[in-house]
């Protein structure tokens, strides 16, 4: 998972955000020493609850930048993902997807799937960017863990978005494939070779299928009021002076991003 830590490291640097403001709740157990080098606050939480936990962190202290990293997002955490997107809770969700078909782009994958991928052998995976987009996520992108530069730039860009951003990272997860030695790098390379960059593609068309190369890139980049924005606006309207807006007004933190 070090490639994700590296990407986070670079992304945070590029976004120009003070590291102490960043919290990373994750259901993937990262190595403590690696996390320490990031200089952020890290929480390893029960499977699937990264977004819900992150929602609490963000609402408890709106100045935090929260980056839920989710390995079990596609299973236990699906509900928190769709609702977080709907609310447009200001979170950057890194969704680590380790699904792989037996064939991708017509080529056989380096191994036939283990019995326990996040899905049974014969199931189709989610089209995560499409799902996120349909629920209201303001930013969706997909990269493989080998697209290090692009992934870091995406993280930087998404960190400066207001609302729920989702970056799907195709990477072998620690839980499912750890029994298969040496698969990680091989699989990554395979992903890398069998993906094609399609920025701004309609998320509807980026499903991962056995017949096509994997579409990577940034698919959604839009603006919507965040949960805290709506909360403040609505309560100020109704309660007037009795209500103190929650958190500080949005700061513009643009660095290297070209938000639309």
């Amino acid at each position: 998972m070090n490639s994700i830590i590296d990407a986070l490291d670079k992304g945070i640097e590029m976004a120009g955000i003070a590291r102490k403001r960043i919290s990373v709740p994750s259901d993937i157990p990262f190595d403590p020493d690696a996390v320490k080098t990031l200089g952020v606050d890290y929480f390893q939480i029960p499977r699937g609850r990264a977004i819900a936990f992150g929602t609490g962190l963000k609402l408890g202290n709106p100045d935090l930048k929260v980056i839920p990293v989710a390995g079990d997002l596609m299973t236990l955490g699906g509900n928190h993902f769709v609702h977080g997107s709907r609310r447009n809770m200001e979170l950057l969700v890194i969704c680590v997807n380790n699904f792989v078909y037996k064939n991708i782009g017509g080529k056989p994958a380096p191994f036939t799937q283990a019995v326990f991928s996040p899905y049974s052998t014969f199931e189709e995976p989610f089209n995560f960017p499409h799902l996120g987009n349909s629920c209201g996520a303001v930013y969706t992108a997909r990269w493989t863990a080998l697209h290090a530069e692009e992934l870091a730039a995406s993280i930087a860009e998404a960190l400066n978005k207001r609302g729920l951003s989702m970056i799907e990272v195709l990477a072998p997860g620690p839980n499912y494939y750890r029994s298969i030695d040496g698969i990680e790098s091989e699989l990554l390379q395979f992903y890398f070779n069998n993906s094609v960059v399609k920025n701004n593609e309609d998320p509807r068309n980026v499903a991962i299928t056995p017949d096509e190369k994997i579409a990577v890139g940034k698919f959604t980049d839009k603006e919507r009021p965040t949960f805290i924005d709506s909360y403040n606006v609505q309560h100020s309207k109704m309660l007037g002076d009795k209500f103190t807006p929650h958190g500080s007004p949005p700061k513009v933190e643009k660095l290297g991003g070209k938000n639309g």
Partner: protein, 397 residues
């Protein structure tokens, strides 16, 4: 009835506990597995899935443990014996549907391969920290049957037992194993199908239009029907009458829920099973269950060799708790030692049923996992030497 040959892999096999559990399920006639993978229970599912096509069983990997148990309950009403398998965190998520299973009186089996908790704990290390959870973890009143196997052979045998209890009493039954037994590889003897006794589902046999889904027999167990037979019955998790229709008065609550306790409490003598070693003349009785009882056997032998009259009571069924037997032993013995891989759960039951008759020593989770016979031996020695009566539990650190 005898087991269906299709599921019985007759012969002598080297299996680990998890695999034996899957074989036991198939032998017992389990034909549906709802699962969500979690360490250290994964091999149960792997084995089941690998064997499913040839046995004619089905399975589904759900999105979480909540839905895994929900699917199992649904599948059970189709007439298939069903089970799910999990570990601590998953069991916690299943708690709501354990209650639904109780209320719908749905037979099913939940295998819990315990590891160290709370929270995420140590997923690969054995513990016995979910024992009380199985009994009390869901809201509202219920009674459960829980079995604690201590070897792969028992994983096989007890899984069959579990299915039989669940069909007999129409309740969810828990197999409370642990990571140690689950990963232990030993020889498992699987007998021929015609030597395995299987409890079949007790179907309703009366006239179709007078079927009432919760009309109980004299043991407070209602006979069941499958879906799709034209009964067009209704069942609900709300408090209900014999028709399965919700009625929310205290009278109905009493009518509905109290018998859910009785059907287990009244059958305690038929359900409870213990295994005893040298208890006849024992001055110190070691009460244990699951993996721990393996170390206990060794410790008892050593204690006897050093002249201490030690005996052992192994709980096959932890729930319902063998209250009477424990009381009898407490009266005979000077002291009781309870080693558990937790910080005090079943020992509280021992204390309750000891009636202050014997000193009770508790040996909490050692650092050595399930293999701590030396600690147990030391505890036996100490217990045999303590002469004055103490009230409460004496914890050995």
């Amino acid at each position: 009835m005898k087991a269906d040959k299709a599921g019985v892999l007759t012969g002598s096999h080297v299996l680990n506990g998890n695999q034996a559990c899957a074989e036991g399920a198939l032998a017992a006639g389990c034909r549906f597995l709802g699962l969500y993978p979690i360490v250290p229970s994964i091999e149960v599912s792997e084995r089941f899935l690998a064997r499913a096509p040839e046995v004619g069983a089905t399975f589904i990997q759900m999105e979480d443990e909540i839905s895994a148990l929900a699917a199992v309950l649904g599948a059970s009403w189709t007439g298939k014996k069903s089970m799910t398998v999990t570990s601590g965190p998953g069991l916690s998520l299943m708690m709501e549907h354990l209650g639904l299973g109780i209320m719908l009186e749905t037979p099913c089996v939940i295998a819990d391969i315990q590891s160290v908790g709370p929270g995420l704990g140590l997923p690969t290390h054995a513990a016995q920290g979910d024992m009380m959870q199985a009994r009390w973890g869901s809201h509202g009143d219920y009674e459960i049957v829980a079995l604690a196997p201590s070897s792969p052979q028992e994983m096989f045998d007890f899984t069959i037992k579990a299915f039989n209890f669940s069909e007999r009493y129409r309740i969810p039954v828990a197999i409370m194993s642990d990571a140690y037994v689950a990963q232990l590889e030993e020889t498992v003897v699987i007998p021929p199908a015609d030597q395995i006794n299987i409890e079949t589902r007790r179907y309703y046999e009366g006239a179709k239009d007078s079927y009432l889904p919760f009309k109980r027999d004299k043991d407070f167990v209602p006979p069941m029907v499958d879906i799709g037979q034209g009964y067009r019955f209704h069942v609900t998790g709300l408090t209900h009458d014999d028709r399965g229709y919700p009625i929310m008065f205290e009278e109905c609550q009493e009518y509905n829920v109290h018998p859910l306790m009785w059907k287990v409490r009244n059958a305690v003598d038929k359900i409870v099973e213990v295994q005893e070693t040298n208890t006849d003349d024992a001055e110190v009785v070691v009460i244990s269950y699951g993996a721990t009882s393996r170390a206990v056997l060794k410790a008892i032998k050593q204690a006897r060799e050093s002249g201490i009259k030690a005996g052992g009571l192994k709980l096959v069924t932890v729930w319902p708790f063998p209250e009477k037997r424990v009381t009898e032993l407490a009266k005979k013995a000077k002291a009781i030692v309870v080693p558990e891989m937790n910080f005090g759960q079943i020992v509280l039951e021992v204390e309750r049923n000891g009636y202050g008759e014997a000193n009770i020593f508790f040996l909490p989770h050692g650092d050595k996992g399930a293999e701590y016979s030396e600690d147990i031996l030391a505890a036996i020695k100490r217990a045999s030497q303590t002469s004055e009566a103490k009230s409460g539990i004496i914890e050995i650190s």
